[in-house]
Symmetry: C2
Amino acid sequence: MSEAITHFKELCAPIWNLYSVRSLLYWDQQVLMPTGGVSARANQIAALEKVCHSLLTDTHFKSLLQQAEEQAKEDIDKRYLRSARRAYDLAAKLPSRLVEERARATSLAVEAWVEAKKNNTFKTFLPHLRTVFELTREVAEHKGYSENPYDALIDEYEPGTTTAQIDQLFRGILPPLVQLVQGIAGARPISRKLLQQPFPFEGQHQFSRYLLEQIGFDFKRGRLDQSAHPFCSSSSSVDVRMTDRLDEHLVTMSIFGSLHEGGHGLYEQGSPPEWNSSPLSGGCSLGIHESQSRMWENFVGRSLPFWKAHFPAMRSIFPKQLWGYTAEDMFRAVNYVEPSFIRVEADEVTYTLHIVMRYELERDMIMKKLDPADLPDAWNQKMQDTLGIRPPNDQMGCLQDIHWSDGLIGYFPTYSIGNVVAAQLWRKIGKDLPNLESDITAGNHKPLLDWLRHNLHRYASSVLPGEAIFEATGGEELDHRPFVDYLWDKFSKLYEIQRP
Amino acid sequence: MSEAITHFKELCAPIWNLYSVRSLLYWDQQVLMPTGGVSARANQIAALEKVCHSLLTDTHFKSLLQQAEEQAKEDIDKRYLRSARRAYDLAAKLPSRLVEERARATSLAVEAWVEAKKNNTFKTFLPHLRTVFELTREVAEHKGYSENPYDALIDEYEPGTTTAQIDQLFRGILPPLVQLVQGIAGARPISRKLLQQPFPFEGQHQFSRYLLEQIGFDFKRGRLDQSAHPFCSSSSSVDVRMTDRLDEHLVTMSIFGSLHEGGHGLYEQGSPPEWNSSPLSGGCSLGIHESQSRMWENFVGRSLPFWKAHFPAMRSIFPKQLWGYTAEDMFRAVNYVEPSFIRVEADEVTYTLHIVMRYELERDMIMKKLDPADLPDAWNQKMQDTLGIRPPNDQMGCLQDIHWSDGLIGYFPTYSIGNVVAAQLWRKIGKDLPNLESDITAGNHKPLLDWLRHNLHRYASSVLPGEAIFEATGGEELDHRPFVDYLWDKFSKLYEIQRP
C-alpha cells in the first residue's frame, strides 16, 4: 500500500467513527432519550456534523485524496477511494450557506407539516413545501447532473441511478400491477379474521425476538427495542440496533416490522468487521438495503414455507388466539390485498403503486412540470387512476408522509428498487438453492443467509448498487420483470385469478 | 462582550458538545451496548478524544483564549475563561506520547487487575501497578506543582486542593473516627433483621423511582436504568442518566444507590441550561459532586425523618416483608455499623477510614515513600490500625478497587471531601431552614432542594470547589469538624455511647 493511501486512511478513520457516533445519537433520541433533551441533542449532532464536514472539506483531505487516487493500484484501495470521494463530493459541492438554509427550512417545514397534517390544512404547509423544493433544486444544481436535476437527487441515495432508469422501471411495473390490483378486486376476498383480535404486547415482543433469532440475527452484535417509527441503525457491523412498534390490535405490524428491520440488520451485520468505520462499511445504497428488508419481510416472511416452520411457535405463544387455525390460514391472512390510502399500511401488491405516484409527483415538482399548489389534485387523480380510490382529505392523501417536508426528495423510488432487486435476487437464489423451499419449511434459514452473505453482504459499500446487482445475479441489470412475475405468480394462485 | 470572547465561545461550543457525546457513549456502553460492540466503541471514543484534543490544543484556540483573557471584563466571562484555561492546560501540558503510553498501560493494567483479583495474585499485578504509578508521576511532573507531585494529581479532580490540605483534613478526622468505631464495637449491636430478607426486583425498582421522584429528580430530563456499577452520567442538565444495581437479598443497595446517584443527578439538573455544553456547565469537582450524593444518601436518606416520611410507601410495596416493622426499625437497621473489608459495602462511619488508608498509600507511592511491592503489607497494617480487622487475602484487601489500575490516582480523597463538605453544608442548612426536620418528616424535600439549587447548584462549574464551599457556607473553608460532630452526634445516640 502506498504511503499516501495509508495516510489517507488514517485521516478517514476518525471521520467515519464520528459518523457512526451520529447514528448512535439518532438511535438514542428515537428510543430512550428523555423528552427534555431534544435541543441539547440537536446541538450535539450539529457539532458532530460540523466537525466531520470541516475534516472532510479540509484542503489537506482533498490533496491527500488526490495523491492516493493517483497511487492506488489494488482494487480494494480504488473502491475505498471511490467511496471516500463520494463523501467528499457530497460535503464539498454544497456551499455551507445552502446546507444551513436547507437545514433551517426543513426543520421549519417538518414542524409545519406536523401541524398541517393534524389539522388537514395543506395551504399552511404549501409555502414550506415550495421552499423545500426550491432549495432542493438548488442542491441539485450544485451537485451537478447530465440530463435531469432529479438525477442529482436520486444519486445521493442510489449512487449511479438515473431518472431515465426509474422511468423505465416504473413503465414496466405499472400496467401489470394495476391489472393485478383490478383482478384481485374482482376475486373472492381472503379471510384475515385470525389477525383481527388482540395479541398481548409481551407475546408479540417474544415472537419478534424468536423470529429474529431464527433468521440469524446475532443479538451479541445488536439489539431490538421499541420506537414510534421502526428503523434499523447501525454504528458498525458489531452494533446493529433495530426497533419495532407494537399495537395490540395489529400483530402483523410487529411481525413484519421486525422481519423488515431484521433484513436491514442482517445486511449490516454481514459487512466485514475489518471495514467498520471506513468508507467501505455498511449497505451500499438505500435500494439495496431495502432489497434485504423486503426479501425477509415479504419473499420469506409472507410465504407458506415460512409459516409452516414458525406458526407452531406463534401458536404456543398465543394459544387462545390461534386455536383451530393452521399455517395455511396465517399465510393467507397475511397476504390480504386491498387498495388503501396509507402507504405504510399497504400490502405487498399495492405498496409499489403508492411509490410510483410519489416518484412521479416529486420528479415533476423538481422539473417544474407540477406546481406544489396543484399537488393535492394531482395526488388524488393518480390514486384514482392506479388504486381506484380517492382520499377523502389531504391528511390521508398528500400530507401523510414526512419525507418532502424533511427534504428527502429522490428517496421514495429506493423503496421500489428494493422490491425489484429482491425479486431478481430471489430468482437467482431459487436457481442456486434448489432446496430453498424445503429448508425454509424446516425452519432452516441458514442456506439463504449464507447465500446473501456470500453474494451481497460481504461487499458492503465497496460496490455501487448496479455492481451489487450485477455481482449477485450473475450479470443482470435492474430489471422489473422478476418482480412483476413474482407478484402475479403468488397472488394469482392466492386469489385464483388468471394473468391476462 | 468583546469580539474575542464571542469568537472564543463559538470555538468552545463544539468541543464541549463532543465531550457531552462522550458521556453518552460511556453510559450506553455500561447500560445497554451489545457485548460485541466493545472494540468499535473504543474506536469511537478514541476518535472523539482525538478530535477534542486537537481542537483544544490548536494554536488558534490558544491565541484566541489569550486574547479573550486580556479583553474579559465581566465576571462570568472571566470564570468561563478560567474553566476553559483549565481544560486547555490539561490537554496541552501532557505530551501526546505520554497520554498514549498511559492509556495503553492502564488498559493493560485493568486487564491484569481483573485477573489478579480473580486469582488473588498480587504479584502478577505488581509490574502493572509499578508502571502506572511511574507514568502518573511523570504526568504530575508535566502538569507541574509547587510542593508535592501529588498536588498535581488531586488538582485534576479537585481544582485548587493540595496534599497539605488533605493531610490536615485526615489528621483531624482519623482519631475521633477510630474512637467512634471502637465505641460502637463495644456497644449493643443494632438489629438489621428487617433487611435480611429477599425483596423482589420489581418492587425495588418501583421504590427507587418513587424516592427519586420524591426528592425532586425530573424524569423529563433524565433516566434511571440498571448497570453492573451504579453511576450518574450527564451529557447536559436536560439529559441526566443514573443507574442503580439490584440484588434481591440487599434492598439497601438499590435504595441508597439510587439516593446517592440521585444526589449527583439533582446537582447536574441544577446546572443552568444556558450553560450546557460549555466550560461552565455541570459539577465543579468530584468532591463537591460527592457532597451532594452523600447528603441525599446519608444525611437525608439515613435519617429518622426521612423514614417517617417514606416507610409507609415502602411497606405498601413490600407488605409481607415489612409487616410489623416501623420507620424507627428501618432507621436503625440502615445505620448498622460494622468494620468490614470492602469499601463499597462499608457503612457511613467506617467508610471514611477506608478512604484515609487509600489516600495515604497512594500519596506515599507517588512520593516514593512506599514501594508498590510493599503495598499488601502496608494495606493490611493500616486496616488493622484503624478498623481493627485484617483482610484474609489481597482480593479482599489491596486488590479490591479498580482505581489504581485505571490510573485514577488523586481520586480517592474526593470521596471524603464529599462527606466533609456535606456536613458543612448540612450545618448551614440547619441554621437557614429551621423547619428542615419537620419538612422532611412530612415528605417535603423542596425547601432543601431549593436551598441547594440556590446556594450551590446554580453556580455549576463557574466556581472552584473552594469558592463553592465558601459561597454556600457563608465563608467557611474545608473543615473536618462538622463531619466528625455529625457522626458522633448521630451514632452516639443510636448506639448509646459517650463521646470521650
